[in-house]
């Protein structure tokens, strides 16, 4: 049988005002696949994720997510279609406690009993004990790393089917970095489709099946994360 594409991005163009950021990107992912996206600073990785998540509107090109066209869909609808987005700058809500930040993740979850919600939240606390210690603390006073954990927990708690992750291990201590990657691995095993933007090549390659390399808003290379010569080419493509 032939595999159906869950996510299909075709010749996607995105502008910020006049500056042409994404200049025709093609990317696809099948159910349960996890994809790495690499590129220099300013290549357009974040913009790509933002476009999929509905934060910025593409000027042309198509965005398909199992049957739905995403191009003109608002972020909250995108979320309800089962797409979770963890942005690079964490976006913890100031003035909200860790607990409240976390519960926000379940806002959209309809028809779930409060018991289940509580269970889901507790699962997150189990996974990130550091957060459990800080339930009542204002989210923005967490340490950089803790904020990153909170940001991930907040999105994962709703078990999205497609996960857009932007530089999750940024500013994390090696231990946590490992945790994060193993977490991503777990999510993958649970069948979540993942789009992962990373600067930490080693970890990211290990955690993904395939990768794309982006430069100046174009895909300049794609390959399998496992294959060594693909990795080689990747290094050449984006290292200085």
């Amino acid at each position: 049988m032939d595999i159906i594409d869950m996510l299909k991005v075709q010749s996607l163009h995105t502008y910020y005002g006049l500056s042409h950021i994404l200049q025709g990107i093609d990317i696809d992912a099948v159910e349960g696949e996890s994809i790495g996206i690499f590129g220099r600073n300013g290549a357009g990785k974040t913009t790509l994720l933002k476009t999929i998540a509905g934060w910025v509107r593409p000027s042309q090109g198509s965005l398909q997510w199992n049957g739905h066209a995403l191009a003109e869909v608002a972020p909250d609808r995108v979320c309800r279609l089962g797409i979770g987005f963890i942005p690079e700058d964490r976006r913890i809500f100031p003035g909200l406690s860790v607990d409240e930040n976390l519960h926000l993740g379940l806002m959209q979850a309809r028809g779930i009993s409060t018991a289940d919600k509580k269970a889901a939240v507790d699962r997150m606390y189990k996974r990130f004990p550091k957060l459990a210690e800080r339930r009542k603390q204002a989210g923005t006073t967490l340490s950089g790393g803790e904020q990153q954990m909170l940001a991930m927990a907040r999105t994962i708690v709703a078990r999205p089917r497609l996960l857009l992750i932007d530089e999750p291990t940024e500013g994390l201590a090696p231990m946590i970095v490992e945790d994060i990657f193993s977490l991503i691995g777990e999510l993958k095993r649970e069948g979540t489709t993942i789009l992962l933007v990373e600067q930490n090549m080693a970890g990211a390659l290990a955690a993904t099946d395939r990768f794309y390399a982006i430069d100046r808003g174009r895909v300049i290379l794609q390959g399998s994360s496992a294959s060594n010569d693909d990795q080689q080419r990747l290094m050449e493509a984006i290292a200085v």
Binding site: Y16, S19, G39, R40, N41, G42, A43, T46, E88, D89, K130, T141, L142, S143, G144, G145, E146, Q148, M149, E167, E170, G171, L172, A173, P174, M175, I176, V177, E178, Q199, M201, I238, A239, V240
Partner: protein
């Protein structure tokens, strides 16, 4: 500004019940690179905040070559030569990149030049364009800082600290979010600088830490776990357990 040594004694600060920094002491020798590592939430940034005057310590002292600067206001510390970057990017997002740097460089000018036309502040302007080139931001000089990509913003963040020729440079995870190439660049540059500037670093990129640092301080749950040369620290079992995780 001349490189000075920075000495921290018994520095402590707690938030409510939590002792974020707990009786930490160490010395960053002049014109050397001292790196603070430790798991997330260990208290590194808080330590930075205490030294740079963003927070006041509950107890303990901070000294620049024996001159006590404990809980001095940030602007005074700046005059004493301390310049810091932020882990969570902290720029003038609706001013241009150039203007961001120019304001940072303005510090090089005498006070009265504040009231004179900009073009009179030649030193600042020169420094500004120099830094722009050094960090490869010249092309973006006219762009609003808020419109930079994350990595580019991180670069600007570091650049602003350098613009004022500090004697002591405190960088909180400078290479965070920088792509490989830039990270290497930055490392090279820091090595350069460390000839005339005292550098205090917070980093999670172990490779960088090991290659760069002259001296490493390890923090864990607010306390100083150990310190020493990179090699020593790597060898230390507690550090292994607390930070690197099971290798």
């Amino acid at each position: 500004m001349k490189a000075a040594s920075l000495t921290v004694r018994d520095l402590s600060r707690s938030f409510g019940g939590l002792r974020a920094v707990d009786r930490v002491s160490f010395t960053a020798t002049a014109a050397k690179i001292t790196t603070v590592i430790g798991p997330n939430g260990a208290g590194k940034s808080t330590l930075f905040n205490l030294i740079s005057g963003a927070l006041h310590p509950d107890q303990g002292t901070v000294a620049l070559n024996d001159r006590d600067v404990t809980s001095m206001s940030p602007e005074l510390l700046k005059c004493a030569g301390v310049s810091r970057s932020f882990q969570i990017t902290n720029l003038f997002s609706d001013l241009t990149v150039g203007e961001n740097l120019r304001i940072a460089a303005q510090f090089l000018e005498p006070a009265r030049s504040m009231f004179l036309p900009i073009r009179k502040s030649t030193r600042a302007l020169r420094k500004c364009s120099e830094v722009l080139n050094r960090f490869g931001l010249a092309a973006k000089a006219g762009v609003l800082a808020g419109a930079l990509s994350h990595g580019e913003q991180r670069r600007l963040e570091v650049a602003m600290c350098l613009a004022s020729n500090p004697g002591i440079l405190m960088l909180d995870e400078p290479t965070q979010g920088m792509s490989h190439g830039d990270t290497a660049e930055t490392a090279k540059m820091l090595k350069e600088l460390s000839k005339e500037v005292t550098i205090l670093l917070v980093e999670h990129d172990i490779g960088l830490v090991m290659s760069l640092s002259d001296h490493v301080v390890v923090m864990h749950q607010g306390r100083k776990l150990s310190e020493g040369s990179p090699a020593e620290v790597r060898a230390n079992a507690d550090v292994q357990a607390a930070y690197f995780g099971h290798h």
